[in-house]
């Protein structure tokens, strides 16, 4: 199960002659840290990382905000057309994103956002899945709490941010984590909506890096390791959250 990771790391430290060897060398004879330096210098990884972080952080923050608000409305408020709108939301779950690639490409162009940050960030500021998740969670917060707070003169908004949100930390964390991960790993969308080297995120940059170094697998693997490090770090700190969050999706 972990073989690919093992292979990724060990190859990244090998010399180019060691890489192309049969039978394969399991442990590199010398640990060439220079491969990493070389990989970093061949392509503008600093830029790629910046773009990825920028995209991931802004979309996560943005989505968390819009999702909290929308979920709260569905969970705690009564309004005209509530059921209809909720049904619409449900229906969108049936829409495969891939079907929307071409039309969205046209939209992005018409807005003049092609090859710009707007194209990478704005479309991802909302998530139906997130709304469902949070709504579920918010519903479990007793209505009496809201009523009592209203009597105290607490506005809905304050109630939301001061009480509901802190109580829902686990669920919100899950939404945020999934979003961050999704943004970081986003490839198809970025590939389609950007052009310039300066706009590439890490996954797309990794692909273009490959066409530049061809079969220099030791560099390729080094770059791949670099690409997964942030995710690994994030995962390390939020393991429990993550796995629990995923597990919970199966339990309705």
């Amino acid at each position: 199960m972990l073989l690919p990771f093992f292979w990724m790391v060990t190859t990244s430290f090998k010399s180019s002659s060691e890489v192309m060897q049969m039978p394969p060398q399991w442990i590199p004879s010398t640990w060439l840290w220079s491969n990493y330096a070389k990989a970093w210098s061949v392509a503008p990884f600093a830029r790629y990382f910046f773009n990825s972080f920028f995209m991931a952080i802004t979309t996560t923050i943005g989505e968390v905000i819009t999702t909290i608000m929308a979920a709260y409305a569905f969970a705690k408020m009564k309004f005209f057309g509530k059921n209809a709108l909720f049904a619409v939301l449900l229906a969108t779950l049936m829409i495969p994103g891939q079907m929307l690639l071409i039309p969205n490409y046209v939209t992005i162009n018409r807005l003049g956002w092609f090859d710009r940050y707007e194209a990478l960030i704005i479309p991802w500021l909302a998530s139906v899945f997130g709304i469902f998740l949070l709504r579920q969670f918010f519903r479990s917060i007793p209505d009496e709490l809201l009523d009592a707070a209203r009597i105290d003169g607490c506005s809905r908004l304050r109630f939301l941010w001061r009480i509901v949100v802190p109580l829902s930390k686990p669920a919100i964390m899950t939404v945020a984590l999934l979003k961050f991960l999704g943004s970081w790993n986003s490839f198809q969308w970025v590939l389609l909506m950007t052009n310039r080297e300066a706009m590439r995120t890490v996954p797309v940059g990794l692909m273009s890096f490959r066409s530049e170094v061809g079969t220099a697998y030791e560099l390729l693997m080094a770059a791949a390791v670099l690409a997964i490090i942030p995710v690994l770090i994030l995962f390390f700190f939020t393991q429990k959250q993550f796995i629990q969050g995923v597990a919970r999706t199966g339990i309705k």
Partner: protein, 408 residues
């Protein structure tokens, strides 16, 4: 005293008059695909242009490779704000003609007549010269002059020589060097033979696919016959040459620098000859892009400025300068008589061959779906040289696929 005053006053008025009527400064955007190898020379030329026309400022923007630039252009057209000038392939120009500002009508008759014949046709849409050719290269035959004394002049000779040159040097049962090299998905050899066999991809009015006719089938069968003597490479053949894997191959003249370097670095000698002649003619495929000026929101001043730039770039001395450094070939006839070019030919005789071929070359067709068609033809070519399909079957399928792309 008074006379002096009046004189000064008149001069002053004249100066003001000139100032008022002098050209308003105008800025234009030029999107190009010239990467670091060619960019400095483009900058040089554009700087020269801006010196000659000080009121014009040209903003050069590198948009990546041809594919990326095309994507960017399409995106900008949909958004409604394309640049003033871009370099594009002919088939990409076709669907854009409506929003382009034709350069031809702004040129003098001499300028137009000076453009190489094979290139005029491909820049003419509905009888109007819309674009002008710019960075062109031509298919030539590269051969190891330390292995081959006289390069083949016909495709039959080519096939025979390729067979002879495919050798197993160390007798281990594995072929060490092939006569030639082929790249799957890169159907240049096939396309060249097709035209030289009198064939075409589509008919005159694009209503039918003719590539499957006798001429086309023969072309594909010829390619098929080369397979046993060909090194199949997924990348550029310069690597193969450097590794002594091929004795000769057909490639674009723009690759001359890389192919030659690969050979020389490894102690070999490489020469250039015209592409072998086919049964009907001896034409070679011309590749490269053309300059267009957009008419989608640009001011008249901008359009005029861009036209001036285009005309500047194809002036004989400039197209020569561009070709000398860029490994391209001049696009106007008089350029081939420029001293600078003649001097260059003395030092680089391989370019003589290329020059001759240019005058007699053919460029790609203008069909808007040609990009996809080329991909499809490449796919058929790939099937044949990988042995997945016979030439006849592949051609039959190809006709079906291309008919699908004829559009309406």
């Amino acid at each position: 005293m008074l006379r002096k005053g009046i004189l000064l006053g008149l001069i002053g008025l004249m100066l003001i008059g000139f100032g008022v009527f002098a050209q308003e400064p105008v800025t234009i955007e030029f999107w190009h695909s010239m990467s670091s190898g060619h960019q400095p020379y483009l900058v040089e030329l554009v700087d020269k242009f801006m010196e000659e026309y000080p009121y014009i400022t040209v903003n050069l923007t590198y948009q990546g490779g041809y594919g990326d630039t095309e994507d960017k252009v399409e995106a900008s057209v949909v958004a409604g704000n394309p640049p003033t000038m871009v370099q594009l392939y002919e088939n990409v120009i076709t669907p854009l003609v409506e929003v382009l500002y034709p350069i031809g009508p702004q040129m003098t008759a001499e300028e137009k007549a000076d453009i190489l014949d094979g290139l005029v046709e491909n820049n003419t849409f509905d009888g109007v010269l819309v674009s002008v050719p710019w960075n062109k290269s031509i298919m030539v035959l590269f051969y190891r002059s330390d292995l081959i004394d006289t390069p083949p002049t016909t495709w039959e000779e080519f096939a025979t020589m390729a067979a002879d040159l495919t050798v197993d040097i160390d007798g281990d049962g594995l072929i060490d060097r092939y006569g030639t090299g082929l790249r799957p998905y890169n159907p240049e050899l096939f396309l060249n033979y097709l035209i030289q066999n009198g064939g075409t991809i589509l008919n005159e009015d694009w209503s039918a696919v003719t590539i499957g006719d006798q001429a086309g089938v023969e072309a594909m069968q010829y390619a098929e016959s080369l397979v046993p003597y060909s090194y199949i490479s997924s990348g550029y053949l310069s690597d193969a040459v450097g590794s002594d894997l091929v004795a000769m191959f057909v490639d674009t003249s723009a690759g001359y620098y890389y192919n030659n370097k690969a050979a020389v670095d490894n102690g070999f000698e490489l020469s250039v000859a015209r592409v072998p002649a086919g049964p009907v003619n001896n034409k070679s495929a011309i590749q490269g892009t053309n300059l267009v000026v957009f008419d989608m929101g640009q001011t008249q001043a901008q359009k005029d400025a861009a036209v001036l730039l285009a005309r500047f770039l194809i002036r004989p001395e400039n197209t020569v300068a561009w070709s000398l450094r860029g490994g391209y070939l001049p696009v106007v006839k008089s350029a081939y008589e420029e001293q600078a070019w003649l001097d260059y030919l003395v030092e680089n005789p391989e370019y003589i061959v290329m020059s001759e071929a240019m005058v007699d070359g053919f460029a790609q067709i203008l069909h808007p779906n040609y990009g996809l068609m080329r991909g499809t033809i490449g796919g058929a070519f790939e099937e044949v040289i990988l042995g997945a399909s016979t030439a006849v079957d592949a051609m039959a399928n190809l006709v079906l696929d291309l008919t699908d792309l004829l559009d309406d």
